[in-house]
């Protein structure tokens, strides 16, 4: 992929309304070769609408979308040739087998062979001739990904590809996506798993109520949000209030949670964990007390999300509940 190549996906000024309700209110975003871009947002943020407009499944009210430099609206078929998409892993007939699904998909792309290779690569050989209705969630996800990758597209568009997967399958899927990136491809995915986004994505776009609040690398987003490291600890005896006040007033440290005192558990947030820990250690020593538990949690993408949106992050399971 040469430096002058157009982005694999380019969204400019995308607006989509459902009636009077704006689902996406003017977003700009690009996915380049050799990167994984994650789209983060709560339910109803507009992620699915962005994907649907990107793939030409919905017509945007305004803006321009290019796939491999080809406008989707004017030339949908040509534009989609460079894309492999997985929006819904169950989107196959109950009675179809993985081999049939892959063979059909390849044939539609004008490719005459390759199903066996894909079955082996995605660990589906044993289930090659089993009906789709008998496959497990993980096997269905792997098949969906195999279909998305079958015609060797430049760009993969995946809507929550790891939802419902066991950790082992999830790791295997991450490896496949990293391998795709390493071979010069691009990935644009949405996920409800913030850890996954942080570990897997080169850049993360935060979408909130149809607006793109930020797009950057996970570390840059966390740094930009100015969030603090969390220090959680327990002491053998309760700390006196004046000691806590002193700790809270110390450099870069802030006390959090009043009720934690009663239970003997404390939580601090600090932008300077080294100094905060040194001070905590001295204070506990001076009080002839002792630390019984200590946990240091660096700032995360969730903190960045909360700082940017002002709302708590909800997992997909919580949202469903």
């Amino acid at each position: 992929m040469s430096a002058s190549s157009p982005p694999l996906a380019c969204i400019r000024g995308l607006v989509k309304r459902y009636g009077a309700t704006p689902a996406v209110a003017g977003i700009d975003l690009a996915v380049h070769a050799g990167e994984i871009v994650g789209l983060l947002g709560q339910n109803g943020a507009g992620k699915t609408t962005v994907f649907e407009c990107l793939l030409g499944l919905r017509t945007a009210d305004a803006g321009e979308i290019l796939l491999g430099g080809i406008p989707v609206r004017q030339h949908p078929r040509a534009a989609l040739r460079s894309v492999g998409a997985q929006l819904q892993p169950s989107a196959l007939q109950d009675k179809i087998t993985p081999r049939e699904a892959l063979s059909f998909h390849l044939a539609v792309h004008g490719i005459r062979a390759g199903a066996d290779e894909l079955l082996a690569r995605f660990d589906l050989v044993e289930k090659a001739d089993a009906r789709f209705e008998t496959l497990s969630t993980g096997q269905r996800q792997r098949l969906a990904l195999a279909l998305a990758l079958a015609h060797r597209p430049a760009l993969l568009v995946l809507d929550e590809p790891t939802t419902g997967l066991d950790p082992q399958t999830r790791r295997a899927l991450h490896e496949i996506l990293r391998a795709h990136r390493a071979s010069g491809g691009g990935v644009f995915l949405s996920t409800h798993d913030l850890d996954e986004a942080e570990r897997l994505c080169d850049r993360v776009a935060i979408l909130h109520r149809g607006r793109l609040l930020a797009i950057d690398s996970p570390s840059a987003l966390i740094a930009r949000a100015g969030e603090a490291t969390r220090i959680a600890f327990r002491t053998a005896r309760l700390l006196p209030p004046e000691a806590l006040a002193a700790l809270a007033a110390s450099r870069g440290a802030a006390r959090e949670g009043g009720d934690s005192v009663a239970s003997g558990s404390y939580e601090l947030r600090t932008t300077n964990p080294t100094n905060a820990l040194a001070m905590l250690s001295r204070m506990v020593e001076a009080e002839a007390n002792s630390l019984t538990q200590l946990q240091l949690t660096p700032p995360s993408l969730e903190d960045a999300f909360v700082a940017l949106t002002g709302e708590q992050w909800t997992t997909s399971a919580e949202a469903a509940a």
Binding site: G56, R77, L80, V83, V108, H109, G110, H151, S183
Partner: protein, 455 residues
Amino acid sequence: MDNLRGGRRMTTARLFLAVLLRQTALTLRLNFRTPLAVTYGYLLPVVFLFAFAGIFRTGRPPLLAEIGQLLTITILGSAALGLPTALVAERERGVWRRYRLLPVSPAALVGGALVARFVIVAGAVALQLALAHVVFGTPWPENPAVFAAAFFGTTFAFLGIGLLIAALADGVPAVQALGQCVFLPMILLGGVGVPLAVLPGWAQRLAGFMPGRYAVTALQHGFETVRGPIGLGFALAAIAVVGAAVTAIGLLLFRWDNSFRAGRREYFGTAVALVAWVGVGLCAAGTGRLQPTLPPGHEWREITDAQIAAITYENLPGDDELVTRLAPPLARPLTSARLAAIDERLPAWVAAEANNSGEVIRHLVGLATIADLAQDPQEGEIARLVFDYLRATLPEPQLRRGLAWIVLRPDDGTMPTSAPALGFRREIDENALRNRAPLYAQKFLGRLTGQLRER
């Protein structure tokens, strides 16, 4: 990254054909893996066949008179109900949404689904015909080319209805509800399930606005010559018009994604498609093709005034036109020696049938038709002579019933094919006579009822 590195690729046209065939094969394979689809597509038509054979067991040859109805039910069920059920079930799963993302013409994918359904329907019809022949001795189609045209046309029209239902229905239960809205009226009132001849007059006319009536007629023509106001040409044209309208609108409104709900666009499209149905019905009514139908063996004496009143007189040829000429009332005594001789011999000519006025009327109308088809120089005068004779020798109520009998049951009774005693020695084809005679009967009847006036 090169998405073309998969190696050998095909040209667009070959790819289109390959995808169409692949989609057809895949749809068929998946259909045969679904026990419910096989039951509905093949077992149910067999049950219908045996049910029809049980209900219409007196027919000779067996089931011949009902074969058009039977096949129409099979095609209607599989194409107009089976197709949308399968399409909407797949759409609900997101299969068609995924297809939408494929870089291939949608026509190849939708076309493949339609071709597969066509094959399924053809299989069910072939199974019914084979079983009917082997088990009951029902004859094979007398005219295979006509049967093939009728089958293609009917299946095309009903697949179009299926596409339209799929576009309107938001889910499989809605397909069943909408499908029944089409299926049941056609079965009960459209001459498809319940024979047209046993329906009341208003229902018979209503049936003219439903494609099922034309499908039954067209398919029946494949097995035997069907006489009546709706000929093969009109039936095929009606099916083609309805089929083209519903298929075009069904394709236009095709829904790939279940998250899109049927709205004003879909309802407007459906209204446009229904205009084609109404248009065909109006055209049939306007050209006098929606005449009431009497059941076989119906006694001509039992024809009611209401049945006579339901007969229409649109689109009859003029009295001076090439066919069914009718001269103005003749001056008496007759000046033409030939006409006078015919007039004199008429009582003897119909004497053999004197105990059955219905047959007398049919024979005399047949005589006028022989003169017409033989292109006799005095064909108009002979027709007038016949009409005058009928009025002079038969009570009017009886004459009205006898003429209505010819209009409503052109195949009943006996039809002379020549009249040597009256100087008409040339044999005329009986089919042609039976097709033409109702026109003279209408002209005479219209004058008796006041619906037609003398020039």
